[in-house]
């Protein structure tokens, strides 16, 4: 798979340019070394450094430790393979494609905290879909942040698609309603809905998201077919709460959704993902590894579907677990 080539090469290029290599990979750490307790501790540190989180890290390290003690693991290279296998197994291959409506427009709702990269990611999705010959309509439901509508509009002009918009400060649910009507009337293949950034701790704003969702559902049965949470790759452990809370708010008819794990820790297992159907991991072109998605997948079963690797509409890749792990350790 050549999917992550560009990330890896971009990353290298970036790193070569800086005077100091900021992160050294687990690959370097492991190759040609014999496994011992000290090395296991170093692996632990690397995983924590990648934001994988303490619970998932402990689980992985305990696995390595056990296999080391029973003699199954002895070489550094084997550990690398072990980790790749363990993590790739978290993302079975079939569950990463976009959910498509059986008939009529497919509605993709894009959510996330402030500055996560929602609007830019929409430009990327739009560009991907246009490349496949699909027709796309955009809905500018971020009526809150100054300049947000204009930002989406500029992308729509550059990408040659239409955008439905309302007044700055207006009701986003009303924009969603108009956009859904327009999508039906114009028989577009996809409607992508931009929303205002909000912190998952802001109750009224989270309720507004529920409202947008139900407006879309009322107008187009089954909508939104895909609810993407845009997650910044630099995000720390708090992103777990984001995944849980956004899922809860977007849980559709049965908002029971995901039981909130205490203190931001997920309980391993596969509870229903609730409302969020996929993660768009943005800004993976920096030095952040985005390891929190590993913990999120363990706790909530939300798959990563796309990764963002730059600021232009072409800087998008379909998520590939093997390459992700490679990039994480490489």
């Amino acid at each position: 798979m050549a999917l992550f080539k560009s990330i890896v090469s971009r990353l290298r290029k970036g790193l070569e340019k800086t005077r100091e290599v900021l992160t050294s990979g687990l690959g370097d750490l492991l190759r040609g070394r014999r496994l011992d307790e000290a090395l296991i501790q170093e692996i632990r540190t690397k995983l924590l450094q990648a934001d994988v989180g303490i619970q998932t890290t402990n689980r992985l390290v305990e696995g390595i430790s056990a296999d080391y003690k029973s003699g199954k693991l002895s070489k550094g290279e084997d550990v690398l393979e072990y980790l790749k296998r363990e993590m790739a197994a978290l993302w079975p291959s079939q569950d990463r494609s976009l959910r498509i409506a059986t008939s009529g427009p497919t509605v993709i709702m894009v959510t996330g905290v402030n500055g996560a990269g929602k609007t830019t990611s929409i430009a990327k999705l739009c560009s991907l879909l246009r490349g496949q010959g699909k027709t796309v309509l955009l809905a500018a439901c971020d009526t809150f942040r100054a300049g947000a509508v204009r930002q989406l509009e500029i992308w729509s002009e550059r990408l040659g698609v239409d955008v439905v918009k309302g007044q700055q400060g207006g009701d986003p649910a009303a924009v969603a309603f108009d956009a859904a009507s327009a999508a039906l009337a114009r028989h577009v293949d996809f409607l992508i809905v931009d929303t205002a950034g909000r912190l998952h701790t802001q109750d009224p704003l989270m309720r507004q998201l529920t409202k947008i969702r139900s407006v879309l559902a009322k107008k187009i049965p089954g909508a939104p077919h895909e609810v993407l949470l845009v997650l910044d790759a630099t995000a720390g452990q708090n992103a777990m709460r984001q995944a849980v809370e956004f899922s809860k708010a977007l849980g559709g008819e049965s908002p029971a959704g995901v039981p909130a794990p205490a203190n931001g820790k997920g309980t391993p297992g596969s509870e229903s993902a609730g409302g969020v159907t996929g993660i768009f991991l943005s800004k993976l072109d920096g030095t952040a590894k985005g390891g929190i998605v590993v913990a999120i997948k363990e706790a909530t079963d939300i798959p990563v579907k796309f990764v963002g690797v730059g600021e232009t509409p072409d800087d998008v890749e379909v998520f590939d677990p093997e390459s992700f792990v490679e990039a994480m350790f490489g």
């Binding site: 900021l22 990648a50 910044d232 452990q237 708090n238 800004k283 072109d285 920096g286």
Partner: protein, 514 residues
């Protein structure tokens, strides 16, 4: 945020207290819990290692193991080290202040200055440069700083130097206009941009340098006090764009270089902060999105690698949602000691001294009406989300971790009072069945809610009247009883039971020991 840490520290205290004697290994063991908690709080693991080592060394040095109060002693050490990590030593701050006082040029004094606020140079304009990763919140923070300065009578120019992100210029323009029209203060807020210089990604690298130079020139001509340069977000590994920032810094010579960091950042905070600092010698940090439930470990990391003081924290989307950062207070918050000082300051911002005195008098006479209560409630709510506020009260942070502190309940109370007539607000006792029915209907609540509000309001005014004549000590006692009886404010819907209790840290520790 930070509740978890508070809890852990309380646990550490418990572990080390109530034992006859403790060994060095007891200390190390307790510190492992601290390590886990700090990792969960996104503190960088390098920072944690240094921190823990310091605490252990200090503990051994001060012979904590022989102390009669080892727990207390360690908490003290942890607190001191935490303050240092968050804000540098007090001595350093003093030194910087002295340098400035001696007339050492500001840019030289700045790196050490841990004074709150934004320094001012003369002759102006003071130049503030903002930088940071994409999406960290630079533009919004520019607006907040402008509002902050305007309130203090300092005129501001916001200059749009983000030529890359679509509509970034428009965003700053709108923000500038909002500050100018909607926020208090007499000073001017102006906006500078060169819209024709805007270009697609990577197409205008370097152009921002000239824009910044011309903005500063314009500010000088207009006699503006402070000009804030909003630069484009960039990755620390993007050599070209980092070079652009360096050029701006070299040619414009900003007096303050603020790095804007998302408080929700994980372990990578250390990498990006290090890179920005190497290129720019950052001299102040602004942490944004602190109103999330992040435990904010990035704060410690960023401070650690740059040595630059954390100047402000952003606590909301509104343009006045910015606070000066105080290491002492933040460390106290981490340790569950609350942040009463911030709370009082916030309250002072919302309620004037005369207003407070007028109310005090009314309270003393038992004349407080629903109307006054509504005013208080509104002032309280302008101070921020309730949970955030309650977190500042000593002892409440940890206790509140799982409590339902629901701003919705306050909506309800507001709605009910809004549905009352003037007469009902003045004399709630006249509210009978039919009035109750009308109020409930008007506010979309239940009749029980209305009667509950009226009863509890009655109790509250009775108690406050009694309290007015008391000494401070008996007041505290009365408040405690109030909490215990779950009456008054403690029992008003929206205030979890006993959540307004104020227990001194000492008391709390005493209780734990039993």
């Amino acid at each position: 945020m930070f509740e978890r840490l508070s809890e852990t520290f309380a646990g550490v205290y418990k572990k080390l207290s109530g034992r006859g004697s403790i060994s060095e290994s007891n200390v190390r063991e307790a510190m492992e819990d601290v390590r886990t908690a700090l990792l969960e709080a996104d503190v960088n693991h390098e920072v944690i290692d240094t921190f823990i080592q310091q605490v252990v060394d200090d503990s051994i040095g001060r012979q904590v193991t022989k102390s009669l109060e080892p727990g207390q002693e360690i908490i003290g050490i942890v607190h001191r080290r935490l303050v240092e990590l968050l804000g540098g030593s007090a001595a350093q701050a003093k030194e910087a202040a002295e340098l400035t006082a001696l007339g050492v040029p500001a840019p030289m004094a700045v790196p050490l200055a841990a004074e709150p606020g934004i320094l001012s140079v003369s002759p102006g304009p003071t130049i503030v440069m903002m930088c940071g990763l994409q999406g960290s919140g630079k533009t919004t923070t520019c607006g907040k700083l402008a509002a902050y300065l305007k309130k203090r009578g300092r005129s501001v120019m916001l200059a749009a130097a983000d030529l890359q992100r679509p509509a970034a210029v428009e965003q700053l323009q709108t923000v500038a206009a909002q500050v100018e029209s909607d926020f208090p203060g007499g000073a001017r807020v102006t906006f500078y941009s060169e819209p024709d210089k805007v270009a697609a990604y990577g197409k205008a690298v370097g152009v921002a340098v000239g824009v910044c130079q011309r903005a500063v020139e314009a500010a000088r001509k207009q006699g503006i006090d402070t000009v804030i340069l909003d630069t484009a977000g960039r990755l620390h590994v993007n050599d070209e764009l980092m070079g652009e920032l360096q050029s701006i810094a070299r040619l414009v010579q900003p007096h303050q270089r603020f790095l804007v960091v998302d408080a929700m950042t994980g372990q990578d905070a250390i990498n990006s902060a290090k890179a920005f600092h190497e290129r720019l010698e950052v001299d102040g940090i602004i942490l944004t999105k602190f109103d999330s439930d992040t435990r904010g470990g990035a704060a410690l990391s960023v401070k650690h690698v740059t040595g630059a003081p954390i100047k402000f924290i952003g606590v909301g989307e509104k343009l006045d949602a910015i606070e000066e950062f105080h290491a002492e207070r933040m460390a106290g918050r981490i340790l569950g000691m609350g942040d009463v000082v911030s709370l009082v300051e916030k309250a002072q911002e919302q309620v004037s001294q005369e207003e407070a005195e007028r109310l005090q008098e009314k309270l003393a006479k038992g004349e407080m009406t629903m109307e006054d209560f509504l005013g208080q409630l509104k002032a309280l709510r302008r101070m921020g989300p309730l949970k955030h506020l309650l977190g500042m009260i000593p002892g409440v942070g940890a206790a509140l971790k799982d409590a339902q502190v629901d701003d919705k309940q306050l909506d309800k109370i507001e709605a009910m009072i809004n549905s009352m007539t003037r007469k009902e607000r003045d004399k709630p006792e006249i509210i009978d069945n039919s009035r109750r029915r009308r109020i409930a209907k008007g506010s979309g609540t239940k009749q029980e809610d209305v009667s509950q509000l009226v009863t509890r309001f009655g109790m509250l005014s009775k108690i406050t009247k009694q309290m007015a004549g008391m000494s401070a000590a008996s007041k505290v006692k009365a408040v405690k009883q109030l909490g215990a009886a779950n009456a008054g404010m403690g029992g008003l819907p929206g205030f979890g039971k006993g959540s307004t209790r104020t227990v001194s840290v000492k008391d709390r520790f005493k209780k734990r020991k039993k």
